[in-house]
């Protein structure tokens, strides 16, 4: 097969494409995401550029554009190289603020390429920003891609086929239909509790802003311990989601309705698998609770845990896959309406959320340079206009609050972050 043969979207790629189109229709650059790795020194830029060239050669999809082929969409490789873009902090003083300003300037500019890589040089070290269009790959894939770029053995990285399609192929048509019906019922149920939102705004020009909250290793350990106490083996994600709901509720959500609904993804890859690299291989779950439930901390975590276990036991996680398969055949606007709109006409998601977990780097870091920190970025639809991206590096938890300005009020967000601190660390709570 030609290196430049088109690569058709898998169902999850199309899902993210639909949201990308919603974001663009609202006047924003699109469904772009970013990983910003803080490095203690400048990596060998020539070696990094060689790796980018190797990336395009080994994985032609890395440099591709979206094309419509018949009823389907596909990535059409272009063969164009991906240049490492260079930026520099000029100020002698606080270059943290300046570096973040550069990050946001890159992220807010209109972009036509699906993948770009940037080095933002600081007085000491700098930030490596990987910026990508979500239909191209998911967050786990972005980590694998960074591992490829920084690896001593890039030849060990291979691509493999869509995991969603592999899972769908395991099921008979009747099983797929049964799961589809389950997913539809589950979706209907989620849409019947109107979701609180962080803004009343639904339109108008927006820029993406970012506030990052970092916890030191001691605080991060405390949070992990509290998560274990409250949500047990269901993992820390539910703890973060519960704390966030409580933070919003105690502050008062700007668009106050009946409850909170936060979608979160689960990955179909095996843990630590170095493949697939490209494509989206994720399904979707919902954490949902009434405002009354949210006000009772103990009851909320019990509820979220029971909800999660029930969803997995009833296979409602996998049930979303045939739903995504069917969605591929819908035009973007119609599919987006199904995904976003509740029965009342309001937005389903109280905010967007992603937890990438603990990101480990090779002993010698990224191309021999230690990774000291990270932050994450993503555009989102309006509403909700707010996304919380969570990750951990070197035992230190980072919460990246991405929000649309002026839709989300910064004063409200600062207060939300303070409430979230209290909830996560269980300080000043009832």
């Amino acid at each position: 097969m030609s290196r430049f043969a088109p690569i058709f979207f898998n169902p999850a790629d199309y899902f993210t494409y639909v949201l990308d189109q919603e974001i663009r229709a609202a006047g924003m650059p699109g469904g772009y995401c970013g990983f910003a790795l803080h490095l203690s020194a400048e990596p060998d830029r020539d070696r990094l550029q060689q790796r980018l060239d190797l990336l395009v050669e080994r994985f032609p999809i890395a440099s591709a554009r979206i094309e419509r082929l018949g009823k389907r969409h596909a990535w059409q490789p272009t063969g164009q190289s991906i240049p490492l873009e260079l930026h520099r902090c000029e100020s002698a003083g606080d270059d943290d603020t300046e570096a973040q300003g550069i990050l946001l300037r890159i992220f807010n500019r209109p972009e036509t390429r699906a993948l770009t890589l940037h080095w933002i040089a600081r007085a000491s070290g700098g930030i490596l920003l990987l910026n990508w269009n979500h239909p191209l790959l998911d967050a786990r894939g972005a980590k694998i891609l960074l591992d490829f770029l920084g690896s001593e053995r890039p030849d060990s990285f291979k691509e493999s086929a869509s995991l969603i399609e592999a899972k769908l192929a395991q099921w008979s048509p009747w099983r797929k239909f049964w799961l589809l019906m389950k997913a539809k019922r589950h979706n209907n149920q989620a849409n019947s509790l109107d979701s609180c939102l962080p803004t009343l705004a639904e339109q108008g020009p927006q820029t993406l802003a970012l506030q990052v909250r970092r916890y030191d290793t001691e605080q991060s350990r405390r949070i992990a311990k509290l998560a274990q106490q409250h949500t047990g083996m269901a993992g820390r994600t539910l703890y973060y989601l519960g704390c966030l709901m409580r933070a919003m509720e105690s502050l008062g959500p700007p668009a106050a309705k009946a409850g909170y609904c936060i979608p979160y993804a689960f990955n179909l890859r095996r843990q630590n698998a170095p493949t697939p690299v490209f494509g989206n291989h994720v399904g979707c779950l919902f954490a949902q609770a009434t405002r009354e439930k949210v006000r009772d901390r103990k009851a909320l975590f019990e509820h979220l845990l029971a909800q999660h276990i029930r969803v997995v036991r009833d296979e409602l996680d996998f049930a979303y896959l045939p739903l995504m398969w069917l969605g591929q055949w819908l035009p973007p606007a119609k599919y987006a309406k199904f995904l976003r709109k509740q029965h009342s006409g309001g937005e389903l998601s109280s905010l967007w959320f992603s937890d990438v977990g603990d990101l480990a780097w090779a002993k010698n870091g990224f191309l021999g340079v230690p990774v000291t920190d990270m932050s994450m970025m993503c555009w989102m639809t309006l509403p909700p206009g707010l996304a919380l991206l969570v990750g951990q590096v070197n035992g230190s938890l980072t919460l990246s609050y991405n929000y649309l300005s002026p839709a989300v009020d910064k004063v409200w967000l600062d207060a939300l972050m303070a409430k979230m601190d209290n909830e996560l660390l269980e300080s000043e709570t009832e």
Binding site: M233, A234, G235, R270, Q271, A273, A306, H308, V312
Partner: protein
């Protein structure tokens, strides 16, 4: 030789292999079945054969979703009920711990 007998003779080795495979699966030790499921579906490991029965599955990458899927696999495969209230590190930390938990669990009538 009739065509029917010829077909039977050609398919006999395949049948024997299938039967042997079924028998092997039927009598395959529990830990081997668990290990096969874990490393084919849940965790990537460069050398699953080298993973010991007391090695830490959580350190190896078994996460919350993986634990749930593992429990559902064990319940279906071994015909037991593993209560949600017993999902804790002591019961899922290693292949030995898992096997003990499953062997003590009530049968699913």
């Amino acid at each position: 030789m009739s065509a029917k007998i010829a077909r039977a003779r050609r398919s006999a080795p395949a049948l024997a292999r299938a039967s042997s495979s079924f028998t092997y699966r039927l009598f395959k030790p529990m830990k081997e079945q668990l290990k096969a499921f874990i490393f084919s579906e849940l965790i990537y490991h460069e050398d699953p054969a080298a993973f010991g029965d007391d090695d830490d599955l959580l350190e190896a990458g078994l996460d919350s979703m993986g634990i749930m899927r593992l429990i559902m696999f064990a319940e279906k495969e071994f015909g037991v009920i593993l209560p949600d209230t017993e999902i804790e590190p002591d019961n899922v930390q290693s292949l030995n711990a898992l096997e003990n938990w499953i062997k003590q669990a009530p049968q699913n009538a």
